[in-house]
């Protein structure tokens, strides 16, 4: 079992068991469903933005593997208080740092599901 805890470390498992920011917002600025078709992970992400384009609140619900749900939980903690341009600038290494582990190519889409969904949600706002 050597090496297993590299990926399934306690922090990830804790976020998987008890994800932060679970639920729905009363009046979200934007809602988006994110899917990872490879393994069926799905999240519904909601963002509340103020007039200055700062995220004031965030919520999600979903189901999927531990990496996708923990990755989304961790990234949602980071979104609150950030401006949309700051969120669009976030990248894969940032998520890896949050997870505390370098996720391999078979799981990278799970790890990035939360961030990519948030970025797509923001992009959809901009095009409105």
């Amino acid at each position: 079992m050597g090496g297993m805890d590299d990926l399934y470390r306690e922090q990830i498992l804790e976020h998987h068991r008890r994800p932060h920011n679970q639920g729905t917002l009363a009046t979200p600025s934007v809602s988006l469903e994110g899917r990872n078709p490879n393994c069926g992970d799905v999240i519904n992400l909601q963002l509340q933005l103020d007039d200055a384009g700062v995220v004031t609140d965030v919520a999600f619900s979903g189901r999927g593997c531990a990496i996708s749900q923990a990755g989304t939980s961790l990234i949602t903690d980071e979104l609150r208080g950030k401006r949309v341009d700051e969120i669009l600038a976030l990248n894969s290494p940032f998520v890896m740092e949050l997870l505390g582990v370098e996720v391999g190519p078979t799981r990278i889409h799970c790890a990035l599901l939360g961030l990519e969904t948030a970025q797509k949600a923001i992009a959809s706002l901009g095009s409105k």
Binding site: M1, G3, M4, D5, L7, Y8, E10, L13, N38, C39, G40, D41, V42, R63, G64, C65, A66, I67, T106, R107, C110
Partner: protein, 418 residues
């Protein structure tokens, strides 16, 4: 009994294993426990040897050229077709060689469907279908303004509710399309009963045989099917191969989807006459080496004995069904609990451990399983599952492989129960 069997005539997976060079490798530095043959089979030595021999001694463009070597290429290709036809107990003249089972099912839907479906006609498929036997029917029914209806599954076990067949026949379907063995449920469809019901209302039966052809005896004339599609790579052949059997008179009614060289009788600048028979559906240079590979795979599977393969795999599946609930108490097993109603695979889900996490943790012991939808997303939606884990077995599967599976399942429980 030959080189592959025990004294009592049963298949010896350890002897079988020696024919598959992949097991001499150690992917990631670990011995391989390959439990994903339902996705693709491993390749036997003799299959690759047969391809080498064909390409190094008989290589020219089949069906063309007047020289000796070109005739040898044609002979090799047609002998391969004949061998594959024998494997399925059908005439070679009714076996269309194609690039995949997906291509075969698309050919049936698009070619047969285009000629035979009218507004309001019904095509019936199961809710458990593989996408390859679902989406082509979605497409053609939409195009022809026909209706797609479904044989439902049980919301908990996923088992296909065949007892609904009688009432669904009141819809007078034109076509019933379904898998011989479900690639998620593992269940063997009662084809004789379905064919009888179909033919009684004038419907045809299109069968996706991908999960049956490598795992159990398949004699197509005994099944009552009108179309039967299969893929080569699940039988130990090469990747880009598959085929379609249909009765000659049905093939005659169907127009080719792909046109070009090797399928014509005569061509003028503004039109062309197509050749007759299977070759009409095989435009372009055929994958002759793939056919030769598949013929060699058929030889090997027949040496193993398909009844003996089925018996061996049933033993392995029986153990999985028996021990899985002990090792992972919250496992939700999809499909029938009786191993004899299955061929080659078991899929399950767990609320404790998502399938993808399970596959990752099993990989650390060299155990390869499939996690996800297995190209059957609607079935998973019906069961309210975001994924399932699938264990599939083969003639080379040993108790050692299953020991590794269960050890890995215990690892996963330790991680997730904390």
């Amino acid at each position: 009994m030959g080189a592959w069997h025990n004294a009592d005539g049963t298949l010896d997976p350890v002897k079988v294993r020696a024919e598959y060079p992949i097991f001499k490798t150690q992917p990631g530095g670990r011995p391989l426990h390959y439990l994903d043959s339902a996705a693709t089979g491993q390749r036997p030595q003799r299959v690759v040897d047969a391809v080498s021999k064909y390409l190094f001694t008989a290589n020219a463009n089949p069906h063309r050229g007047a020289y000796t070597l070109a005739q040898m290429a044609t002979d090799g290709y047609e002998a391969a077709r004949a061998r594959i036809a024998t494997y399925l107990n059908v005439p070679a003249s009714e076996l269309v060689m194609l690039g995949s089972a997906t291509e075969a099912l698309n050919l049936v839907a698009r070619s047969w469907g285009k000629v035979n479906l009218r507004r309001g006609d019904v095509v019936l498929v199961t809710e458990a279908e593989h996408h390859a036997n679902l989406i082509p029917w979605q497409q053609i029914t939409r195009e022809m303004d026909a209706d797609l209806e479904f044989i439902p599954v049980d919301d908990i076990t996923g088992e296909i509710l065949w007892d609904r067949l009688d009432s669904l026949m009141k819809l007078k379907p034109k076509m019933i399309a379904l898998g011989h063995v479900s690639n998620v449920l593992g269940s063997i469809a009662p084809l004789a009963q379905i064919a009888e019901a179909a033919h009684a209302v004038g419907a045809l039966l299109c069968v996706d045989g991908c999960q049956a052809v490598a795992n159990m005896p398949v004699s197509i004339p005994d099944l009552g099917a009108d179309f039967y599609a299969f893929s080569a790579h699940k039988m130990g052949g090469l990747f880009a191969g598959g085929g379609l059997w249909a009765r000659a008179e049905l093939l005659e009614q169907m127009a080719p989807i792909e046109t070009g060289g090797d399928m014509i009788h005569s061509v003028r600048l503004r039109d062309a006459e197509f050749t007759t028979g299977t070759q009409r559906f095989e435009a372009g240079t055929p994958d002759a080496s793939g056919a030769v590979a598949l013929a060699a795979a058929c030889d090997l599977l027949d040496e193993f004995g398909r009844d003996k393969i089925h018996a061996h795999e049933a033993l392995m599946i029986e153990r999985v069904l028996r021990e899985l609930p002990e090792v992972l108490p919250d496992a939700r097993i999809l499909g029938p609990r009786d191993a004899n109603q299955r061929a080659g695979l078991v899929a399950f889900s767990s609320d404790l451990i998502h399938a993808h996490d399970l596959a990752e943790i099993l990989d650390r012991r060299g155990v390869a399983i499939r996690a996800g939808f297995h190209c059957a997303q609607p079935l998973h939606e019906q069961l309210e599952l975001s994924a399932s884990a699938r264990v599939s077995v083969a003639p080379f599967t040993t108790h050692d492989d299953l020991d590794a599976l269960f050890a890995g399942l215990r690892d996963a429980r330790t991680v997730f129960e904390g």
